[in-house]
Symmetry: none
DNA sequence: CATGAATGAGTATTCATTCAT
DNA sequence: GATGAATGAATACTCATTCAT
């Protein structure tokens, strides 16, 4: 149900596609979405034509990057949810989502896309993550670890916002930890 | 208290400058920074030439918009700080800053600019607001209303992040209120 | 009712616009529609930006060229129609339309556009020319100089086709004259 | 009588070549010459590589299409010339050539190619058709059915032009018939 | 001072053609 | 031989900025 390849796809083509995704992720994350396609192609060691063969549009490339991010997170989130007790699962997941967030506000966009509706491809993977977040939230609320009046939209908005907060703190680990404390304290009932 | 005028400046010139700032604020806020300068000029009822006479660069225009925002906030913040008791002042100010946040992520940028060091012009007004925020924070902490381990950088980052959170909730007032509760609860000691 | 300038338009702007139209006409006519916009701009001694300021689209430029051609023809046609007797007017006009046709099949397109429907601007001037042709045709038919069973569509198609015929004869004047004889003979009743 | 095959050529290769020619003819005729090679290949059920193996250039493909058209016409023309009396043969052939004309101006090009000297490959088949047309014309002229002052160039140009005329009339059969009457009347002596 | 025409570097995208699989 | 992935030159169009009117 996730990323099934229609046909095997030639080895080099797959390698190029992967390389393009990696480079694009890196570049979009660190330098924003404004970077020319040609530069991305060059950095991936392919011609522009190849980039556009794999992703018919710059937007499609961005979308693919976001989808992959979301899928990665969804996978890890799922693993967490299965292992820990509800409360721990919820807070660990919150951390995980935030920690996956890196550089620029690009990831913010990805998460935002999970909240708002986007293109078809994105919607699928964002739906997956939304479902998992909803489940985790419900579990934590039933376990009495999180305020009952919070809904999924607030949770998502809070994830996006906290991600932004962290971006502005950079690598200052103690400060980041204090923010986690503030938010987690605030999330608990009472 | 606001950008000193070198020479008297003709009345119409001043009017044009003001109009440009207003329009730019509106446009940047609602439609993002990507809007062509020409369109801003037209909306302000002047030619592009005039725009570039007042603001030598598009970036300079954006900067001016941000500065004015920061100044406005600083003014209101100052008023609040003078009137209420420290705790109330702090939280009221937090709300005020967030509520001034509207549309797009433009305002978030303004807040971000207060955190990071940007161009010279910005630095002046951001310094002002930083000073006030620092004072308010200290007051609230001494009054025992806010955790003592939080520094100014965390506060600013939190403002930026919460602003982002709110953007994603849009006009859902009850939800926004719940976010305030979460953050404010989290800010309090213990 | 023809090409009214909204506002005076600066002298240099008008000159550039005219130069662009001239160059485009020349270039499209002799080398076809495939010629890069940049080249047209360079040949007109302006930057691409100027070209696109005057004609927001390559298609718009082509359209403008065609319109001007049609207008020119319509003007001359009108003059002819007013002076001569119906039969002479009709045949003179036929010649005139064909003789205005030069190089490539670009003019064919222009005439075709008069037959089929095109963009709004084109339609206006093509309507004008169609009306005049219809009038001339009717006059010649009433004067007994042209078969009564021919309609306007056939006339236009014949103009386009004869224009194509002439293109393939190039500058061979006697041959062109023979074609005129063939077509004109064929047009007469019986 | 048609392009000699150097070596036997494998059965599937021959089938591919034929299929490509068919598809290209169809596509060029209905949608013009601008259609991407890749699309033609796909429609023919082969990869682009195969297309370029058979026709080293897009232009070569177009040329092959035209050659085949000309050959077909030449064949039918030859048959007609052998059967009827000179006058009838001439006019029937004229009709046949025109009626073979379908969609877009692609066929017009083919005819035009018979008039002008194009690439080597084309020259061969166009020479054949030119010879036949010359013979038919001479026959009709000696039979007193066509003006004596017309040469082969005029005839070819007239064929091309009339083809264009017909294109613009589309499927309006009565109108097409009237055009034939006009042209045929005009072609007769006096 | 204001205007808006001119500029031209910059960008996404297409497509004929080549070549590794 | 066949395939389709890779290539990259080419092209229409945009927009910040300058400067003649």
């Amino acid at each position: 149900m996730s990323g099934a390849q229609e046909r095997p796809m030639r080895a080099d083509a797959a390698r190029n596609r992967a390389r393009l995704l990696d480079v694009a992720t890196e570049v979009f994350t660190t330098r924003g979405v404004g970077v020319p396609t040609e530069e991305i192609a060059r950095a991936a060691g392919v011609g522009v034509g190849t980039l556009f063969r794999h992703f018919p549009t710059k937007e499609a490339l961005l979308e693919a990057v976001l989808v992959r991010r979301l899928e990665t997170i969804a996978d890890q989130t799922a693993r967490l949810a299965a292992e820990a007790d509800p409360a721990e699962a919820f807070f660990d997941c919150f951390r995980l989502v935030i920690d996956r967030s890196s550089g620029k506000s690009e990831f913010t966009q990805a998460l935002a896309a999970a909240g708002v509706d986007a293109h078809a491809t994105l919607r699928e993977s964002s739906t997956a993550i939304r479902a998992q977040l909803a489940e985790l939230l419900a579990g934590a609320q039933q376990a009495g670890a999180v305020r009952r009046d919070l809904g999924l939209p607030e949770l998502i908005a809070l994830l996006v916002g906290t991600s932004t907060t962290m971006e502005h703190l950079g690598a200052d680990t103690p400060a980041r930890e204090r923010i986690f404390e503030v938010v987690f304290d605030g999330l608990r009932p009472r």
